[in-house]
């Protein structure tokens, strides 16, 4: 499993784009929002936590279809499925690789973009923490969506239609943590709920993803 993770990370690095593309998209999105709503600092400060969360979510969505598509094309997905590793483990490692290449850079970049959006001082730490806790759930859910649509020719749009509603609870609690943190309120309740969702999806969803993948590889 470690070898698989290392392989995926190397592939993502070699191909380039993996890290950079999502980050660039995130930056552009934040800039576009600022263009859209105007440069007024107080307004931007108020909506910053929500924008940064939505942006992270969309940037995450962008690279989902690559999780399985490349392996599917060159046939290594079939090889992996027949390998002695349980498919659940493979799926988890794929999600982890996606999180390290896409989620983690977003988490690190978010506070910097928060500067641009005039995010209030106490918000930075909580934005960082909420994204750090929440993005693994996004990757795992996304892996499920990618596994569902792996065999389809034009899966991209369908993938977003399926995955985005699944992101709703994570987004709500995550953005709530960041918002309350920015306003200096207590963050414990949404933070615990967010962590609960992440743990739950991490524990259960790989089984669903693996089942779906088995169906698709039949």
């Amino acid at each position: 499993m470690i070898a698989l993770l290392r392989r995926d990370l190397t592939l993502a690095l070699r191909a380039g784009g993996g890290f950079g593309l999502g980050l660039a998209f995130y930056l552009i999105l934040v800039a576009l929002v600022a263009f859209g709503v105007g440069p007024e600092g107080a307004l931007l400060a108020r909506i910053a936590p929500g924008i940064l969360w939505v942006g992270a979510l969309l940037a995450c969505l962008l690279s989902l279809d690559r999780i399985f598509a490349l392996d599917r094309e060159d046939g290594s997905l079939e090889l992996l499925a027949t390998a002695p590793l349980p498919l659940e483990g493979i799926v988890t490692m794929k999600a982890l690789a996606h999180w390290i290449t896409t989620g983690l850079p977003l988490v690190v970049a978010a506070p910097l973009l928060g500067l641009m959006l005039n995010l209030p001082g106490p918000g930075f730490a909580w934005l960082f923490v909420s994204l750090l806790i929440g993005t693994p759930a996004l990757s795992v859910l996304g892996t499920f969506g990618a596994a569902l649509t792996v065999g389809l020719k034009r899966g991209g749009l369908l993938l977003s239609l399926i995955v985005l509603p699944l992101y709703v609870p994570t987004l709500i609690f995550g953005a709530e943590v960041a918002r309350r943190g920015a306003e200096g309120l207590a963050v414990q309740t949404p933070l615990l709920l967010l962590a609960g969702i992440t743990c739950g999806t991490l524990a259960l969803l790989p089984f669903a993803s693996a089942a779906v993948l088995r169906v698709n590889l039949r």
Binding site: L152, L158, V168, I172, L193, V215
Partner: protein, 249 residues
Amino acid sequence: MRSLWEYANPKKFIETSQRVLPAVTWASVACLVVGLIWGFFFTPEDYRQGSTVKIIYLHVPSALMAINAWFMMLLASLIWLIRRHHVSALAARAAAPIGAVMTMIALATGAIWGQPMWGTWWVWDPRLTSFLILFLFYLGYIALWAAVEDDDTAADLTSILCIVGSVFAVLSRYAVNFWNQGLHQGASVMRAGALAGDTEERVSNVFALPLFVCIAGFVLLFVALVLLRTQTEIRARRMRALVARERRG
């Protein structure tokens, strides 16, 4: 002893549903006509809501059916995954567009009612928002059915999506509750028969009786449409199989 599983046989299902369908259809039409006419023409106005209270006869039944249709799809999906009865998977497929339309009706009537009552077409109220999310789930489910070519694969994939989606629909419901306390009144219909309690909030009998007739009408309409559409799906599937066999020679 005849068992329910007999209807897992497509032929048997078509035969029986063919026999039941006219009765269900006419019962549903009768209930809807009686309930809606009763509700529209022969109920008084509410002292606060005026005549807009009449929208309840469409809004509440469609909202109920929007949720129940998803439940039925969940059950059918589970039956398909566990016992692999094709009729079950096709029934889930047949129910999805009905559920989506019911969600649309609930949202549309709600918006039209909200405009004069709350002064806005749309508020980000927990109930409204979770219905919007439910609608998105229906869309994703229908789109996935349409996108996958092989029938059995599509049935498997959509069943798993339905189960995962159910969990997340419930999660979203509570998340949204947390996110915003709403304007929407609580579910007062089920308390309609309650003896004691807050008379202010419960739906009085004048409104409740035609409402129950309407709910019965919507349930029967749903059953009739599911039977009809499942038949259609069975036939379409058989046709695809025949055409495929023909091509192979």
